[in-house]
Amino acid sequence: MTELDPQVLDDILSLLGELKEDWDYEEAIEPQTRFIADLGLESLEIVVLSTMIQQQYGKLPFPVFFDDIGQRPVDDRDVTVAELVAFVSEHRQPISQEA
């Protein structure tokens, strides 16, 4: 399994932490939190969230990621925060090192 980039994990947890204020979600959001079953998002909302994430990390192959999830049995058709972070960590464009 791809390692979770601590920076990406921190960014996405921070993003979700900001959003959850509007969701009436009281629990802590952790790597194993599921977007649909726990946070109550619709499938398409995760797609939209990916647009926001790409604004920060550049273009990512989300269609293939969603394709994999869409093919799972219906009860498993969900995404954990850790899965999303692993995907972004693996495919994010390298940050240019400025002197």
Binding site: L41, L44, I46, F62, P63, D67, P73, R77
Partner: protein, 534 residues
């Protein structure tokens, strides 16, 4: 002098005129009496994301890059992504006004997230989920400002479930609540609009009301006088009354916003497309299968457990697994685009489809589509078929479908497998038409005039002109000078601005093809086996 754009998604005069005549929409009647009206022709496809994008860019989809709710990232890809503001490859009224230091308010327009960095405020609409609206608002901090308003309730303003019900339907017991929710929803957007108008003193204020489209999809038979039941049941009469209440409430909201804008404001009412009744459902992929262009894989196990109303990542890639790509030549990926894509690779090979073969397939398909007849009455099913070049000429045309079609009764497509090629609904539903709505009133605009049909791409030049800004030469639209009093136009003639630099055209893989002779021969042989070259 402020400029106000009131967007009414899917508004059509065949609905508005009877409501005006019956006194349900008195304000709209006054606006027409004191201004100019005309039909507003939409673009191919007459669909919310590309059509509103054409309205705000003054360009056609091949020039701005938006074709559908979902679209290809690259010409040859079979994967589709969710369309966002990042797919709009053109200047917009928002960016052009901002660059020239005009202040804008943009509320509830699609393809506005992530929000572009405009001079003013943006609350995005379209498929923006309410749970993420905090991220979508511009500038940062706007969401928190709006939270102070009682009327600001994101969950009601952007409920995606309502979108689904508009298309897929809902039980009769839910109709009334669904319409009531739209009445409240429009009132919330109007309240946000009026609040921001007072706070921002914007040069251009634009707000879009999308309940018109939603109600017309689901409740057409209660809205269109020609389709209403002659002897309505109690429930049907309640629905007729409730739909009337929606339009009456909307009229009141428009009146309040226009009043706030002041007597010197230029007011433009525009829709992205029109509406009309439809019964036909064309199962396009099953027809392609019957004609030998498409083969199902039989491996789309996930489809079996999907609800009909499921919209999400599974649907974005449904065709990827449902179709046998080793044999399929043409397919439809979404019902909304009304289009057919021809595959980029020759099926069963890694070679790319030569242009000659692609053109031949397109011609064959178009001819076969035009030959189709409706089982119900034997009349043609398809009214028009456009090639990609006809529909989408421009730097982004390679992202659009190879063929786009117009069904004779404005019918809808289904991409799902079906034993029946053309199904017929028991009750008429509302669906998109080309002929939308245009009304304008303000200083220098003719009073009580009706002009011949305008194009949706004419609205951006009109808004820029109203703001006192030049119109870029690369806009496909024109300033509709016929709506102005001659002396007003003489006093403030059209000014043109240089075109933006033309983006480099996306090149389809076939056009970039350079093959060795032996590779070429092998591919031609494969095409011959499939019947695409002689």
């Amino acid at each position: 002098m402020p400029t106000l754009l009131l967007g009414l998604d899917g508004a059509t005069f065949s609905v508005l005129d009877p409501y005006i005549e019956d006194g349900v929409m008195p304000f709209l009647g006054e606006l027409i009496e004191g201004g100019t009206r005309g039909l507003l022709r939409s673009i191919m496809p007459p669909l919310t994301p590309p059509a509103w994008t054409s309205l705000v860019t003054g360009k056609h989809p091949g020039q701005h890059g938006v074709f559908d709710f979902f679209q290809k990232d690259e010409p040859g890809s079979i994967y589709f992504s969710f369309a966002s503001s990042q797919n709009v490859h053109s200047a917009t009224i928002w960016s052009l006004a901002s660059e020239q230091e005009k202040r804008i308010i943009s509320l509830n327009f699609p393809l506005m997230f992530p929000a572009p960095p405009v001079n003013g405020v943006v609350v995005p609409g379209g498929m923006m989920p309410w749970r993420q609206l905090r991220l979508g608002c511009h500038p940062p901090g706007l969401f928190q400002r709006l939270q102070q308003l009682d009327a600001f309730e994101p969950r009601e303003m952007l409920d995606m479930e309502m979108e689904v019900k508009a298309i897929d339907g809902c039980p009769e017991s839910e109709y009334a609540d669904w319409v009531q929710l739209h009445i409240r929803r429009e009132a919330r957007w109007a309240a946000v609009c009026r609040h921001l108008m007072a706070e921002e003193q914007a040069d251009l204020t634009a707000v879009m009301f999308d309940g018109v489209d939603k109600l017309q999809h689901l409740c057409w038979r209660f809205i269109d006088p020609a389709c209403r039941p002659t002897n309505p049941t109690g429930w049907e009469q309640d629905m007729i009354d409730l739909c009337e209440l929606y339009f009456r409430s909307l009229d009141g909201l428009l009146a309040e916003i226009v009043s706030d804008a002041g007597p010197d404001a230029t007011v433009v009412v525009a829709s992205d497309h029109g509406f009309g009744p439809t019964r036909d459902v064309f199962h396009i992929n099953s027809w392609l299968e019957r004609e030998g262009y498409l083969y199902w894989s039989g491996e789309d196990e996930a489809a079996k457990s999907r609800a009909a109303t499921d919209v999400g990542f599974a649907e974005m890639t449904r065709h990827v697994h449902a179709i046998d790509w080793s044999r399929t030549v043409a397919y439809a990926a979404t019902p909304s685009s009304q289009g057919i894509h021809i595959v980029e690779q020759i099926p069963g090979t890694s070679g790319r489809m030569p242009e000659e073969a692609r053109a031949k397939i397109a011609v064959e398909l178009a001819a076969s589509l035009m030959d189709l007849r409706r089982p119900a009455d034997g009349l043609p099913l398809i009214e028009e078929v456009w090639t990609r070049e006809q529909a989408f000429a421009g730097p982004y045309e390679a992202l659009g479908p190879d063929l786009s079609m117009v069904l004779a009764d404005g019918g809808t497509l289904s991409i799902l497998p079906s034993e029946t090629i053309v199904a017929r609904r028991e009750q008429p539903r509302g669906h998109h038409r080309w002929e939308g709505t245009f009304i304008a009133k303000g200083p220098g605009i003719r009073s009580g005039a009706e002009v011949p049909e305008l194009s949706i791409v004419d609205i951006a030049p009109l808004l820029l002109h109203s703001l006192g800004l030049p119109v870029p030469e690369d806009m496909a639209g024109r300033l509709p000078i016929e709506i102005f009093e001659p002396e007003a136009l003489a006093a403030r003639p059209l000014r043109l601005a240089p075109a933006s630099p033309e983006p480099e055209a996306l090149v389809g893989a076939a056009e970039a093809l350079e093959l060795e002779p032996d590779e070429q021969a092998a591919l031609v042989e494969r095409l011959r086996a499939l019947g695409y070259v002689e």
